[in-house]
Symmetry: C2
Subunit: 420 residues, 2 copies
Amino acid sequence: MEKLYTEMTTEELLTEKEALEKRYNDFKARGLALDMSRGKPGADQLDLSNAINHISDYVVNGVDYRNYGILDGIPGCKELFAELMGVESKNVIIGPNASLTLMFDYISQCFTHGAGSTPWCKLDKVKFLCPVPGYDRHFTILEHFGIEMINVPMNDEGPDMDVVEELVGDESVKGMFCVPKYSNPTGIVYSDEVVERIAALNPAAEDFRIIWDNAYCVHDLVENAPKLVNIFDVLPKYNNEDMVIEVCSTSKITFPGAGVSAIIASDNNIAAIKKRLNAQTISYDKMNQYRHVAFFKNADGILEHMKKHAAILKPKFDVVISHLEGELAGKGIAKWVNPLGGYFISLDVLEGCAKRVGELCKEAGVTLTPVGATYPYGIDEKDSNIRIAPSYPPLDELELASELLCICVRLAACEKLLEV
Amino acid sequence: MEKLYTEMTTEELLTEKEALEKRYNDFKARGLALDMSRGKPGADQLDLSNAINHISDYVVNGVDYRNYGILDGIPGCKELFAELMGVESKNVIIGPNASLTLMFDYISQCFTHGAGSTPWCKLDKVKFLCPVPGYDRHFTILEHFGIEMINVPMNDEGPDMDVVEELVGDESVKGMFCVPKYSNPTGIVYSDEVVERIAALNPAAEDFRIIWDNAYCVHDLVENAPKLVNIFDVLPKYNNEDMVIEVCSTSKITFPGAGVSAIIASDNNIAAIKKRLNAQTISYDKMNQYRHVAFFKNADGILEHMKKHAAILKPKFDVVISHLEGELAGKGIAKWVNPLGGYFISLDVLEGCAKRVGELCKEAGVTLTPVGATYPYGIDEKDSNIRIAPSYPPLDELELASELLCICVRLAACEKLLEV
């Protein structure tokens, strides 16, 4: 049985620290340069989709996808996403190469034109709820528009709904960002009850909008993966269809730099988005849409393809998890969830130690996501959360990086506990 | 020598009208369905770029263009546009598949964040100058944001600069849309003097912005085509570098639905746009950028390619112009410019007749750009301007459509003159 660090004597901690420092310095001497900072697929994952480029004919049923037109996406691509996401194709608009742009543009539209009510730029204060830890690029969008971000704690089933239900009573709270499946970074899947309570929300703001960023909708690492309730099946029960804007993309299915994104919304919201799009573009890239349709054929084609990704990714997650379990379990200095999908492992280290872990890793040549990035304004008040992105480095590098990370977590904990 | 319609007697007009009606009815009986409404390239033009898809390796100098990153465009693509437009590559950002989106997004950014001054959404009134006739999609953007559009007459050298210089004295006038080369629709190229006077403007609004939509920068129909002065060479003389935002794209070089666009701006403006982009996307489609670089190699590659477009387009323009000259010259009922590039022929018919011409054409199966579309709010007060788009129909259809158009112009003129 491991001994809890918190129960160690000063002498024991000093001995532990000395041993860790020796291991740490050995690592440092090797001059590593490893990167676990972003959820980038590896080159072998990208190779899985190379055949997508081998299309030579882009004229389909007499319609030339090389030319202008078809604002909301080619029918085949709308149907592909509709089938995948369990909605009607009339509720789908195909977007550009990144769902991030769809989210930014939608928030921008709410600022300049509102969401059926006063344009948000005309209001003194606009606030958004941010389940934390969360995705830094969501926070960047909100910060760009000067939206005040309010932290909502995440638990194993999703955002703490007691907190959410209370906060939406404030009329200036206009929305919430969610990553409902394999949450970035905690990796959990929103429970049926949480999805139901979200769908049932009765916010003071009639133009309250939930950005349902379903980035990892089919990104399972295991068979019999957890299922996320389709929120659009639940919303009608509460007359809340207009409250949710869902996005997804093939960024981590085909190519991060050249995928296809989709926005899924109610009839009202689709109409409002199309009105804006009619001024913003003539169409997104239909040739790329068609490449995806021709490559995948249907939703099953995507699901089969995702098994190939999982075969590459699962061993990488296993490496990190086995190091965490081997080196950090039972010491009372770290917590994590073993995710069944998505791109991240969220590691909570001893409070007040995350920044130090980041520094130690960096000094020894391993780059982590900047500590704090998983919180609005980059402020993790507990200085505890670290996001690990195991997808990009090859397995051998990941072994080294994981071992080093664990050493740093233990070392920072020793230092912290010796401070007292 | 042709007789001017305005000098015909009533009897002569009635005889003329009767003859035209006979020809018109013959056309109507043929049940045509021809389209001269939009500046769509023909399928043979699109075929010129099909080889662009035959790239199999997207890893360049160790950088994987399939993956995330490179916010402002791959170096090769920035250099390609920099060379083509005569600017430095640091002043270029590569955009999505349409420059329309770059323009919309920039205006949106001015609304939410301003252009170095108060965000436009915080102002009671924002006005833009619109040289007329002009491009309907510019007007759609302005209308979307509730920007008041003020008509500025176009002449053979560009916008009437006396009018422009006076109007920019109003601080609420925040900008102007220009298509400086082969203006849409008049086809003229801004003269050196007009470009100089634009660059020298001293607007009351310090955040005055000219959207320099150089959509037809290399779209010559003839050799020794007219040259447009590079406004970025002139702006520094007047310390006005920040006043102009230039855009261009390969929409009418490669594929309208899947080209690459670019925005060209001063260091200050590039920094402000990048700041927004950093929240809006991770990168635009780098694989498509690389396809374009690999296909064209350099600016000369683009210029050579444009000669192939000209070889297809010039005969189409010639068909329309020869009909206009043969049927409408010397009658005092129509004026047009024979454009040396671009995508349109702008035809001014007898005042009060353009709508009627549109109706007559439509009834006989020829679709024109909706009459009025070339003016803000769709209001052509003189009811005189018709935009002809000869690029899309095959030559034989264009012969028919042009003949019919001329008949309708003459018929509408007879009707009008007989009203009095």
